[in-house]
């Protein structure tokens, strides 16, 4: 290159070489700078802005593609029918209405990382523990938030009057079948913080989901669906869970006194930062379905590893997560 001829072979390396060779001091140097900025150009508490695209898949009832920085997730929701007569252990009558979805397993989320999204997850192997734990965490959030109304998933049938019935008795309505929602989440590109992106994709896809009108056909003894678009109805999410993750970068080590250690909280860590951080905090906030409606409540706080995050820091993170939640809701609401 021409530049090299003028200056001679340089004694400095380009930034990404430093990042590869000594990642920890590289990140530390950035954070210790008098105007600290992370290597990816973000402020400490700055999240990546998501781009959300819904309804692009033909064969699913609802779908979303979410891109958060260099992490891309596609989610497809597909409804299939579970006949009530096929359920081996029918739910007891005293089961709380909102627990029905979990009890019958009507929501089946699965997250797949082996799509070649990163060199660490090569297909041909069973799902890694990361993939398994992400699937489980998403399923737990969906069940705990009760965002899916069980009534949306019921397929009811009003039984015709028989001679045994009393004349004034109202017609009996029975649930003949349930919709089961298969939520398949594929991570197409992974650059840190898969959970936030995946959960956002799931909520966006569920909001996009429309289920056809279905009824019990007594002659065929099966469920039939109407192909007419105007008959279908969309899934109404009663709440909207939004996750915000934070990672802690710390200089603490076994060789140093604990007081000497310095720590930084990094919002929405990317793949490079995630490798260097042992301690993470995920805050899932639950709020009303549309912008500016309902109260926001804490659904879940998950903290793993490390000893830095205490009461104050958690409080700060929840505050930031609440701001993040309203940002996400505006992004979703504009769709």
């Amino acid at each position: 290159m021409a530049n090299d001829a003028e200056t001679g072979p340089g004694l400095t390396f380009p930034q990404d070489t430093f990042a590869k060779l000594t990642p920890r001091p590289y990140l530390l140097a950035h954070l210790k700078h008098k105007t600290p900025v992370r290597p990816n150009g973000r402020q400490q508490n700055e999240f990546r802005q998501p781009t959300i695209n819904t309804g692009s898949l033909t064969h699913s009832n609802g779908s979303a593609v979410v891109r958060v920085g260099d992490t891309a997730v596609v989610c497809g929701v597909r409804g299939e029918i579970l006949l009530a007569s096929d359920i081996p252990h029918p739910p007891s009558d005293d089961l709380e209405e909102q627990d029905l979805v979990e009890e019958l397993g009507l929501v089946v989320p699965n997250l797949e990382l082996s799509t070649g999204c990163s060199p660490a997850h090569i297909p041909g192997n069973p799902p890694t523990s990361l993939a398994q734990s992400l699937s489980y965490r998403i399923s737990a959030v969906l069940h705990d938030s009760h965002c899916i109304n069980p009534d949306d998933l019921r397929i009811n049938y009003t039984e015709p009057k028989t001679e045994d019935d009393l004349p004034d008795e109202p017609p009996k309505e029975v649930t003949k079948a349930y919709w089961t929602l298969y939520i398949d989440i594929l991570c197409l590109a992974l650059d840190g913080n898969a959970f936030d992106a995946a959960l956002l994709a799931v909520t966006a896809a569920l909001r996009d989901t429309t289920l056809p009108k279905a009824w019990w056909d007594p002659d065929r003894e099966s469920i039939l669906c109407s192909p007419v678009v105007s008959d279908s109805r969309s899934l109404r999410l009663s709440t909207m869970p939004v996750a915000s993750s934070f990672a802690v970068f710390s200089t603490a080590s076994h060789l140093k006194k604990r007081e000497e250690a310095q720590s930084w909280i990094l919002a929405d860590a990317d793949g490079f930062e995630e490798e260097l951080c042992d301690e993470t905090l995920t805050v899932v906030l639950n709020s009303g379905p549309s912008t500016g409606s309902g109260t926001t409540s804490i659904l879940k706080i998950e903290k793993t590893g490390g000893t830095y995050i205490g009461k104050d820091v958690t409080d700060l993170c929840v505050r930031q997560a609440s701001k993040r939640t309203s940002d996400i809701k505006t992004a979703l609401g504009n769709r």
Binding site: G105, G116, S118, Q132
Partner: protein
């Protein structure tokens, strides 16, 4: 049909579920799509490289969906969407046997929501078969002896597949051959070629995939890039074709072509030439962007070099 319980994934409810059955209503009458393009015209392809930054090379391929508004909940056609990532070339693990060539591995997997019938997470035989076909198509192109003791993974995820035929026919009598697989393979070859070029693996040429078919309608004339739901296909052929060397690295023919088999192959090659223009354009665009970026970065370092290096003073 209860699926086998997989303890590493979330499973369907124990009762087992079935896909919805749609009633045939007069107000939602489905008509078989008709081919509006010329027999020698390809559908529009969207191809872009560098979509997955964490991989050495990647590409996304899409056949643009037809812009007919949806009147029913049952989609009348499907549009091919494929992503491909390439990881490598990277050193083989220490315990691997010596190899003087680049070891190429290919994985093709359909997403669960790619087709009308929901697919499982474990690769089935048709996906393995596609992987083998793809590997043969690519192996003749990559200059393997430049990377001894190295491996390279080509991973393909089919986000939306091609249909095997007009689906209403298949429901009535079941005459669907797996014609859609041919189009998927052609797409896989093209997208993998773009991703390999993006990863910077040396190749003798860009390989592109093309499909042609003999149809039952219109006196059995040959068509390029058949959309299976629009035709009644008698025979079809896929090739992986290197245009500048006039070589075929992969050929897969199915059905009864009779005496027309040679014309069918020629047509498939023609289709491959058509896709190659898109492929070359995408690769060229990506390269120009890369070159533009590096020269820009070089300019930046000369101008603001001092300020930049100050940012990262390496201490203890």
């Amino acid at each position: 049909m209860a699926m086998l319980a997989d303890r590493r994934r979330m499973n369907a409810p124990p009762g087992g579920t079935s896909p919805p059955v749609f009633a045939s209503l007069p107000e939602a009458k489905l008509t078989k799509p008709i081919r509006t393009r010329n027999p020698d015209e390809h559908r529009k392809i969207f191809l872009r490289t560098g979509v997955v930054p964490s991989a050495s090379g990647s590409a996304y391929y899409e056949i643009s969906p037809s812009n007919t508004p949806r009147q029913t909940l049952v989609p009348s056609s499907s549009s091919l969407k494929i992503t491909c990532t390439v990881h490598g070339p990277r050193p083989l693990p220490r315990n691997a046997a010596f190899s003087s060539n680049l070891l190429l591995t290919t994985h093709v997997k359909f997403a669960p929501f790619a087709t009308r019938q929901r697919r499982g997470y474990v690769r089935d035989s048709s996906e393995r078969d596609l992987g083998v076909h793809l590997e043969t198509a690519l192996r003749g192109v990559v200059i393997g002896d430049r990377w001894p003791k190295s491996g390279c993974e080509v991973v393909i995820t089919v986000l939306e597949g091609e249909e095997d035929g007009w689906w209403a026919d298949a429901e009535e009598g079941g005459k669907a051959g797996s014609w859609g697989m041919m189009n998927v393979l052609a797409g896989c070859i093209t997208v993998a070629s773009a991703a390999i070029a993006d990863a910077g693996v040396d190749c003798v040429d860009l390989v592109s995939g093309g499909v042609a078919a003999l149809t039952a309608e219109r006196n059995g004339e040959g068509v390029l890039d058949p959309c299976p739901s629009e035709h009644d296909i008698k025979a079809a052929c896929v090739v992986g074709y290197l245009q500048s060397r006039d070589e075929v690295t992969e050929m897969w023919m199915k059905g009864d072509a009779g005496s027309g088999s040679e014309a069918l192959i020629d047509n498939a090659v023609k289709a491959a030439v058509l896709t190659r223009t898109v492929l070359a354009e995408a690769v060229k665009e990506a390269t120009e962007m890369k070159i533009g970026k590096t020269s820009e970065a070089a300019v930046e370092t000369t101008n603001t070099g001092k300020g930049k290096t100050k940012d990262i003073q390496m201490t203890g």
